[in-house]
Subunit: 387 residues, 2 copies
């Protein structure tokens, strides 16, 4: 299969507890994306835009795509908000790739943003809560941390593992985040710190959970055959996969497999026409440490139960056999909901151009990103190749 | 230009104050869409789905695309929520057409739903309010009825018209709604009733405002060259246009023109390669009576100020020279936010197949639908042709 589209520019704010509001965050990420285009691109060249956001700071939850238009200087362009909870960014990127592949648009802006830290806790819990199953989970008091705690318990039980397999994910992602200037957490943590942290939803402690972050990210997508007008080093989008599942985990045959991630990965590899062995590194949706282990297995990079052992063995470290989340992942880089999936595309863009600085994965030529909405109810997988 | 895609099935619930919740409404509309496909189509044939919704009954605002998957019996399919306020349906249809045009999917389901009547007023006002500009309008107490009241005042002043031009829209749309079994209001109203109704935001009275409705609609979209596998009478999507504008009306050069609608119409006619004179009827976004007058002018079917006179002359009645909103429009059929744009596509499908029953526009061969988000901040225009 040929390339489906190309990314020719990408921008990313810091993720963390920031002073800026969502408008300023969007503007920073979009400006940085334009500035990164080697041969230049202007807002006036943009023909369509997609915004990924869940709560948009709480004050513009509806019609917020128009705000992207305002802040990007592209008022007048068709702008569409895509919302699939924490997978909003992945689905927005997918819609953008389909827009360029359909011939409808030549230069498409995809931006994701969330401003979470100045929203009162109760309202933030409301937004996040309404992204999980309401009838069988939320009304029974089950939070996302609770769902992932149940999944983690089952995973450790099924595979005769202890919580150190989870802690190894946190330690590795904090190690990577420490090298990423955009990361929410830039401090390494030791396994003992993870083990002794306050419990959130047993076996998940504080260091097993991603933080509440503000931030934005943006990428510029063009038809593959136009990419070299913008840069000599585009990053191609070769494979797209996406799927959905029942919202409530109780409706699914297994607690320790996300069928949506599995189907999305199969579709993405089929559409890219490449083998897993050709992938240089993964960016997976580690909203909780257990989620990274599930992802490695669901995406076909580890047999059931092996992801824990691979992580403990150091295989997924930045310098390991299969680097996972070299940017620190949701765990350490942070998780501003709508920005997360777009931020993964940013990382693929930087790494595949050899421009990831201290966190560079040596020789990276193919990347896979994996973005999940809710506890596996929606998922996207995207495969990228260096130009 | 050739056809971009085709609609081969469509379903629509009643709009109104209904007993059913959003899940049941979605199921009814989707089931009806499948049942309407002449040579049959099954949920298992669907390769992608788009859900248009703003509040989804308030209990599943995030990740609600997964609920569409559950209710349509297509769990496992990529499902994406698109939200552009009241234009969500138009933008979801656009994303679906791009998905089939890109070759990514062959049979795509587009569904829109809103369950508004059992949401407490305050929360509903919150959802609706956050679709307008927050900083300059909402925080100053300006509601949507208020914005459209200002626009109406200015329009009547600029064009030396009295409120009877607005009332004529209400009378005409109620007349059409009375013939539509799915309409929220099926009672004709007299001009005197419109004139003497309680004021909402002067010069807009109660009968100038669309109601708060529950309801759902669904359409099935395929690549144009596959349409005849499903039916001998597909309805083709020939033209797509969409645009955006500043959220706040104060940022725009004119109160009485929506630049987003204008640009969307130009784009749609350019992409369809047809003239306005070939259009048999329009479905326009008449959230308030004034909005229908603006639409006729913005879409290029009337000179500034002429829409009022055309309406008073009866030109836009179902049996007039240019029928507008033969289904009753938002004004009489109702306005369940996410369902509205998809419901317009349903009407195009029925009319262009000669299957609109008592409200049929005789000899309809080309239709235009127009869907607006907020007070003109986002807009889509779609042009359809009979098969």
């Amino acid at each position: 299969m040929g390339h489906r589209a190309a990314i020719v520019g990408a921008g990313h704010t810091r993720f963390g507890a920031l002073n800026e509001g969502p408008r300023a965050l969007l503007r920073s990420a979009v400006d940085a994306a334009f500035a990164s285009v080697d041969r230049g691109a202007e807002p006036s060249d943009v023909e369509a835009a997609f915004l990924a956001t869940l709560g948009f700071g709480g004050w513009q939850i509806g019609n917020s795509a128009a705000v992207l238009g305002e802040e990007a200087g592209i008022t007048g362009v068709p702008a569409t908000r895509v919302e699939n909870a924490c997978a909003s960014g992945g689905f927005a990127l997918r819609a953008a790739v389909e827009a360029v592949a359909s011939g409808a648009s030549e230069l498409v802006l995809v931006a994701g943003v969330e401003k979470m830290t100045d929203v009162p806790n109760a309202r933030r819990r409301y937004w996040l809560g309404v992204s999980g199953d309401t009838e069988w989970e939320r009304l029974a008091g089950l939070t996302f941390a609770g769902v992932y705690g149940l999944i983690a318990s089952r995973y450790l039980y099924e595979h005769h593992l202890g919580p150190e397999a989870l802690a190894a994910v946190a330690v590795k992602n904090h190690e990577n985040g420490a090298l990423n200037p955009n990361a929410h957490f830039r401090k390494p943590v030791r396994p003992e710190q993870v083990a002794s942290a306050p419990r959130v939803a047993d076996p998940l402690g504080l260091y097993d959970c991603c933080p509440v972050s503000d931030g934005a990210a943006a990428v510029l997508v063009v038809p593959a055959d136009r990419a070299r007008r913008f840069t000599d080093t585009p990053v191609y989008v070769d494979g797209l996969g996406a799927s959905s599942d029942y919202l409530a985990v109780q409706e699914r045959p297994s607690l320790t497999q996300f069928a949506a991630s599995r189907r999305a990965a199969e579709q993405a590899f089929r559409s890219a026409g490449c083998e897993r062995s050709t992938v240089s590194f993964l960016e997976v949706h580690d909203c909780f440490t257990i989620a990274e282990l599930l992802a490695l297995e669901d995406l076909g990079f580890a047999a059931p139960g092996e992801a824990g052992r691979m992580t403990l063995a150091g295989d997924t470290r930045r310098t390991g056999r299969l680097p996972v989340n070299p940017d620190g992942g949701l765990k350490a880089k942070g998780h501003p909901i709508g920005a997360t999936g777009v931020g993964q595309a940013y990382e693929a863009f930087c790494q595949l151009r050899g421009a990831a600085g201290e966190r560079q994965v040596p020789g990276a030529s193919r990347a896979l990103t994996h973005n999940v909405g809710g506890a596996g109810a929606t998922a996207t997988v995207t495969i990228y190749a260096a130009g």
